[in-house]
């Protein structure tokens, strides 16, 4: 019954699954992002306080969410690899890092452009913005540490440890708007009970969130295949795999 789980630890199986999954992830994400953008930018009514500027949420919130999700995936995969010695975890972690870092930049840039008309400033040293910036530095640290070792396996394990140490930042980012008086608005969607947004604004946002996650899945699969090849270069199955 659990064979599908055990097979996930096998590099050639993962290589094949990732190849098959990529077009599905990509096409579904295009649909979700397409709907989200059109419904959000065109059909959702303007916000009472922020006017049309609120529409930035449709790119800002999914980017920020993905920046945290990718980091958590990276730390989790690294932890699994470190504790149970399932090497594919290191490949997943290595593949996730640049994706997550790019979306952290996107979150910071879109947030900055949103802050200018709303708060009057491109930047503020408030807890959420600061912890998101720290997240970017954490990504950079992990990505710098991995290649610094002569033996690649050692680099993987060191990077995994570092990403686990840094994962404490993720709940800080999320709860910063609860724990401190922050300029940044509170949680819009992730509340038990009725969300604060009306449906016409909410559905495109949820669709964008889903679309970005699916996109992350697609890009992760592509990168993962590269990472698996880099780590398994000497293996026999690679010869047949790269001919395809």
């Amino acid at each position: 019954m659990w064979t599908w789980f055990y097979r996930l630890a096998s590099p050639p199986y993962v290589y094949w699954v990732a190849a098959a999954a990529t077009p599905w992830f990509l096409s579904l994400s295009v649909v979700a992002i397409g709907y989200g953008l059109i419904a959000g930018l065109v059909f959702a009514p303007p916000d009472y306080q922020q006017g049309d500027a609120f529409r930035i949420i449709y790119v800002h919130a999914p980017s920020a969410w993905l920046s945290m999700f990718a980091y958590t995936t990276m730390a989790l995969a690294g932890g699994i690899a470190l504790i149970w010695r399932i090497k594919i975890g290191h490949a997943v972690a290595a593949a996730s890092a640049p994706i997550g870092a790019s979306f952290t930049v996107a979150a910071l840039v879109t947030g900055s452009l949103w802050g200018r008309p709303m708060w009057g400033t491109y930047w503020a040293w408030d807890p959420r913005l600061t912890s998101e910036l720290i997240l970017l530095f954490l990504y950079v640290g992990v990505m710098a540490l991995r290649p610094a070792f002569e033996e690649p396996g050692r680099g993987d394990r060191a990077a995994a440890l570092l990403s686990i140490v840094g994962v404490v930042n993720i709940p800080i980012i999320h709860y910063s708007v609860v724990w401190w008086n922050s300029l940044h608005q509170g949680a819009t969607v992730a509340r038990l009970g009725v969300p604060k947004m009306p449906g016409s604004m909410l559905w495109p946002l949820l669709s964008m969130l889903l679309g970005f996650m699916l996109f992350y899945g697609a890009v992760l699969c592509i990168r993962l295949r590269g990472e698996v090849l880099n780590r398994e270069r000497q293996s026999a199955w690679v010869r047949e795999a790269i001919k395809a």
Binding site: I134, F137, G141, A148, R157, A158, L161, V165
Partner: protein
């Protein structure tokens, strides 16, 4: 002859302190760096006392952070070079205890020294006398936590060629909350409001780091040495 955890702790602590005091120049350098860097800010920004007082917490803290980072590289390096580190890992004593002792010794000769020197620097930056206790206790707690965090970074980068820059890249993002609360506490003491809240948070961060970081640092050492 088997050695208990406490005896091992004391032995390693004493060894580290002995070795450190044999190289007094290595003790003085981070202190001098601290003094010089704090001098740079008034020279570069402004010599007006009121302005100095406002930037004093930040300047003190950034300088202390950088000075501590300078000496972190040496935490495991000399032991790694002559093979002592591997012997310690193999010794059968919990690596947690050994890391705890080494890091405490490192703090005693670097962070604690910074705290003792801070009144001098504080006076130069026009910090009022009433703020000194907060300044010194926040620096003490902060540098202590920083030594533990730095041990993780040092453990991960032992033996790497350009380990120094990498340690800073790894440790500084983790140290930012310390900076925020430590400088915040000193800032409040200078302006007259109560720093107690920030100090409690800083102390909590310190306790959290002191208890958990040695695990991570020990794991890091095992990764880099195995």
């Amino acid at each position: 002859m088997s050695v208990g955890a406490w005896s091992a702790f004391v032995l390693v602590l004493r060894r580290e302190l002995c070795l450190s005091f044999r190289r007094p120049d290595q003790l003085i350098q981070p202190l001098m760096f601290f003094l010089i860097v704090t001098t740079l800010f008034p020279l570069g920004l402004s010599v007006q006392l009121s302005l100095l007082r406002e930037m004093a917490p930040g300047v003190l803290w950034v300088a202390a952070l950088l000075a501590s980072l300078l000496s972190l590289d040496a935490l495991f390096k000399s032991d790694a070079e002559d093979g002592t580190l591997e012997q310690l890992v193999l010794s059968g004593q919990g690596l947690y205890v050994i890391v705890l002792a080494k890091t405490l010794a490192h703090w005693l000769v670097s962070g604690a020294a910074l705290v003792l020197v801070s009144p001098v620097v504080g006076t130069a930056l026009a910090v009022p006398l009433s703020a000194f206790p907060t300044m010194m206790s926040s620096l003490g707690l902060g540098t202590l936590a920083l030594s533990w965090l730095g041990a993780i970074g040092a453990g991960l980068t032992v033996g790497l060629k350009r380990g120094n820059v990498l340690i800073s890249l790894i440790v500084l993002p983790l140290a930012m909350p310390l900076l925020i609360f430590g400088a915040g506490a000193t800032d409040r003491a200078i302006s007259g409001t109560s720093p107690v809240g920030a100090l409690y948070l800083l102390a909590a961060l310190c306790v959290l780091t002191c208890t958990l970081a040695p695990f991570a640092a020990a794991a890091a050492l095992r990764i880099t040495l195995e």
